[in-house]
């Protein structure tokens, strides 16, 4: 960061922008081919392509800090999504792998040792330079660094911690850092990672232990959970003052998250939500990310080449929200449909309400907050507004519309001074009102 701009990205190769998926076919057996010849742009193409199956890009909820007292960057409060790709995912962080070389053989992962994908490896300096130069141009909020396992978990984690240390200590970087923790890494490496990173995450990968043991034979579910427990204990220890009243340094202030692949094994949505409930209660996770299993180039024969179940993923996120902000239990949501899977045609709150009509209609002028939160079409903000508006007088249909309620959904489930659902609440055709019209299946 001197006058000559020594930390600026110097390399530009106006080569093809796309990482060529077909290229993978031509590199048989060249696992350790000379990667030093690759340009920074080529490495970036390979190592961002390799990182795209990680769903998280959150940069919110960390300590408030900025560069007025030195260094570069700021963080805290809501995160910022700097761009969106056509897959509908936001780009908030520079999400890359340090390397996609890996000694593990996880069937669902493009970077597994048995894949013929092109390999590359960034030097720590390259990762730091890319992060800072993108950051200075206001393209990112920070770095999300993950990695294949090279040589050993400790070696890999040590290199990742070194990158975070260079950013924080050498360059005074105040932006956001998310590090993917390697489950088997030594506890002192994780402890150091938590000092530099805003968020740590360990992927649970699959909703059931048996699937993980089967599809990722080098990983162990108990080690993954123990790593999450370790992060929780570290965070709790960092909040306690010592006997002298001194606070220890903050540990991963934006908490931890995890990711689960949906659709690669036979787990039902109910199983998935139960696993999530266990994870939220056990490790104080900020988020569980659900990632619809997406076909990967050069795939393993252990997995089907299916279209990613995007609607299922969406419904799981909705159900997850119901558990965290609306007071629902995993079993209540999962029990709405006998198959144990969520109704793909309607949202899970509506599905629950349809299956529990005895609890409706709800009198909006009197109902408790807990019950209002269960009304389809009412979000948490709408409920807060209803509670505030009730103090100034009766809330009517038009008021609810203005306060953001989706009345087309709420109608059958509420009574208001100027609205009664009558027989609508219990009518047989209620589900059909909400579900999209059935589609004629294609014959070909």
């Amino acid at each position: 960061m001197d006058a000559a701009g020594n930390d600026r990205a110097a390399v530009t190769v106006p080569a093809g922008l796309f990482q060529n998926d077909a290229l993978a076919q031509n590199t048989q057996g060249t696992y350790l081919s000379a990667m030093a010849q690759r340009t920074l742009q080529q490495k970036l193409a390979i190592l961002s392509d390799a990182a795209k199956y990680d769903a998280s890009c959150a940069s919110s909820g960390t300590d408030r800090r900025d560069s007025r007292s030195g260094g570069i960057g700021s963080a805290g409060g809501t995160g910022i999504c700097h761009a969106y790709t056509p897959d509908g995912r936001c780009i908030s962080l520079l999400k890359i792998l340090m390397t996609n070389f890996c000694i593990y053989d996880c069937a669902y992962c493009i970077n597994r040792v048995s894949s013929n994908v092109e390999r590359a490896r960034f030097s720590p300096e390259e990762v730091v330079r890319l992060t800072l130069e993108f950051y200075r141009r206001n393209m990112i909020e920070g770095l999300f660094l993950s990695s294949g396992i090279i040589r050993s978990p400790d070696q890999t984690m040590g290199d990742m911690v070194r990158i975070a240390r260079m950013l924080r200590v050498d360059h005074g970087f105040k932006g956001y850092i998310h590090l993917k923790t390697i489950p088997d890494a030594a506890p002192d490496l994780v402890a150091e990672a938590g000092l530099y990173a805003d968020r740590l995450s360990v992927n649970i990968e699959l909703p059931q232990d048996a699937s993980l043991r089967h599809l990722a034979p080098e990983k162990r579910p108990e080690t993954i959970r123990a790593a999450m427990a370790d992060v929780r204990l570290n965070r709790e220890a960092a909040k306690e003052r010592s006997h002298t009243g001194k606070r220890p340094p903050r540990f991963a202030p934006a908490g931890q998250s995890t990711q689960m692949i949906v659709g690669a094994d036979a787990a039902t949505d109910r199983d998935i939500l139960k696993t999530s409930a266990n994870l939220y209660s056990g490790y104080r996770l900020k988020r569980v990310y659900y990632s619809a299993f997406s076909p990967i180039p050069d795939s393993s024969s252990a997995l089907p080449l299916i279209k990613p179940p995007l609607m299922r993923e969406h419904r799981l996120y909705q159900a997850d929200w119901l558990m965290r902000f609306y007071g629902f239990e995993a079993d209540e949501i999962g029990a709405a449909h006998p198959s144990g899977n969520l109704d793909l045609a309607i949202d899970p709150k509506l599905a629950w309400a349809l299956a529990n009509r005895a609890q409706f209609p709800v009198d909006v002028t009197r109902a408790t907050r807990e019950m209002l939160l269960r009304v389809p079409g009412f979000g948490t903000k709408t409920v807060d507004r209803i509670l505030a508006a009730r103090r100034s007088g009766a809330v009517r249909y038009g008021d609810l519309l203005r306060m953001g309620a989706i009345m087309s959904k709420a109608q059958p489930f509420v009574t208001l001074p100027d609205w009664r659902p009558g027989g609508l609440t219990d009518s047989d055709s209620l589900r059909a009102r909400f579900a999209p019209a059935p589609e004629q299946l294609s014959l070909f």
Partner: protein, 473 residues
């Protein structure tokens, strides 16, 4: 008509001063015409404002915060709307806290639109590096927000990019940050920004982080509306990325599964742990096997196996029920509240907690998740039966002269007798394998008992542990 002309920058503070003075004379909202630097002079009447009167004028903090945001809206009516709201609030304060009020609703929506625009400006400004001959690097950007938010949005950049100089040009004006200070200037022509090598790398990143197998363009457009696209270096790639996506997905499908490189099995063979089915011949081997135990279903929800710990040569074994929340997280027995009570009580009667083998009848935590907490559940008989495999191995290698069974579950696991604990407490029973088992309370019972009954139970636990100390001495 009274005409109030607001300056190009610092508009909100100017509005606030003028509105306060007008309200002091109770000038009606419909008799004020608000103008800005670009409004033609002759469009409205130009009557001068009266001197401020003596009426008191008040505004809540929340209203001022709302007004400050509305002030950055592009709607030319915003000033008179705000003045109308200020006047109304002098007699009717309540409407400002009623989300159902139409006037508040309109202002809230305007403020929301401004906040979103500011947020989008924070997201979508892209700096280009400019040549610099000083010690600080220089950057410039062109941005077209929907509302005149330049002044509201730039302090964010000043905090974030304090160590570089930059300028953001917009149709509303130019914000320049030099050496730590922001200045605002009237708009000029759109600047010609030089090419920046990092923008090309950014495009590479954008193209490759995209997953062609999942197309959700609606989600993209709702968060990154087209109106912002023209100034983003990456968006020009989108049509090509979308057009190419089906071919890439098809290519993946056609390629199908491929053959693994020959070295792959050698790499994994080196690190893959083989299942160990042998009967362990040491406590360490038993612990290593137990860590991977799947004999019952508890292992799926619990974090890890909590095997016994302590001194295997002390002749004393203390058995509890099942690990709790803290034990499950730490992977060590008796570290939670009940464990601390046990360790304290042991020390009081002269038993060093480190000089006994501490373990549980069941080695995985059993719980029900309830929001952010895990509620302990007593293990079933089937769990006790499955887990006795490990307890028996521990007994084999520790070979205790005395075992203390704390609580009914431990008593059941050790003696096979599931009778009620109260009459058995304090007695010594034979274990299944013959050794003596002293029956006592589980310390967690003492923590759960009401205050009037807990001291007696604690005294009994203390007495039993003292007796155990004598028996192994």
């Amino acid at each position: 008509m009274i005409r109030i002309t607001l300056p190009r920058f610092g508009r909100f503070d100017a509005w606030r001063d003028a509105a306060r003075d007008l309200a002091r004379s109770r000038v009606l909202p419909e008799s004020v015409a608000w103008a800005d630097a670009d409004t033609p002079a002759d469009l409205f009447g130009s009557q001068a404002a009266p001197p401020p009167g003596d009426y008191p004028v008040t505004a809540t903090k929340d209203f001022l915060q709302l007004a400050r945001q509305v002030a950055s809206h592009s709607d030319a009516e915003r000033w008179s709307l705000l003045y109308g709201a200020l006047m109304r609030a002098q007699t009717d304060r309540a409407f400002l806290s009623n989300p159902a009020d139409p006037m508040l609703d309109r202002l809230t929506r305007m403020a929301k639109s401004v906040r979103r625009d500011i947020h989008k400006m924070h997201a979508f400004v892209r700096f280009h590096e400019l040549p610099s001959d000083g010690p600080r690097r220089r950057f410039g950007a062109w941005f077209e927000p929907e509302h005149p938010v330049l002044e509201a949005a730039t302090p964010f950049f000043a905090k974030r990019f304090a160590d570089m100089d930059w300028a953001i040009a917009t149709p509303e004006g130019v914000g320049t940050f030099t050496g730590g200070d922001i200045t605002y200037d009237p708009p000029g022509p759109r600047p010609d920004l030089p090419d920046d090598a990092s923008h090309e790398l950014w495009q590479t990143y954008f193209a490759n982080i995209f997953n062609p197998a999942r197309i959700k363009t609606d989600a993209m457009r709702s968060e990154m509306p087209r109106k912002y696209w023209k100034n983003l270096p990456e968006t020009r790639l989108i049509p090509e990325m979308l057009a190419d996506a089906p071919r890439r997905v098809q290519a993946m499908r056609d390629a199908g599964a491929t053959e693994a490189p020959a070295f792959a099995p050698r790499v994994t063979a080196r690190i893959r742990q083989q299942p160990d089915d042998t009967v362990p011949d040491s406590l360490e081997q038993a612990a290593a096997q137990a860590a991977r135990c799947t004999r019952c279903e508890l292992c799926h929800a619990a974090t890890q196996t909590v095997f016994g710990q302590g001194d295997p040569g002390s002749g004393l074994m203390i058995v509890g029920e099942v690990p709790g929340d803290q034990e499950d997280l730490a992977g060590k027995p008796f570290v939670g509240p009940a464990g601390q009570l046990l360790r304290r009580t042991m020390s009081e009667v002269g038993l060093d907690p480190g000089r006994a083998w501490l373990t549980n009848a069941v080695k995985h935590f059993r719980f029900t998740p309830r929001g952010k907490r895990r509620i302990h559940q007593t293990p079933d008989r089937s769990h006790v039966d499955q887990c006795r495999w490990w307890l028996d191995l521990e007994r084999k290698f520790v070979a205790p002269r005395l075992t203390v069974a704390m609580g009914a579950t431990a008593a059941l696991a050790l003696t096979g007798n599931r009778a009620a604990l109260t009459p058995r407490r304090g007695g010594v029973e034979p274990a299944r394998d013959g050794g003596p088992v002293l029956i006592t309370w589980h310390p967690s019972l003492i923590l759960r008992l009401p205050d009037d009954r807990a001291p007696a139970a604690l005294a009994e636990l203390r007495g039993d542990l003292a007796r155990a100390a004598e028996m192994v001495a």
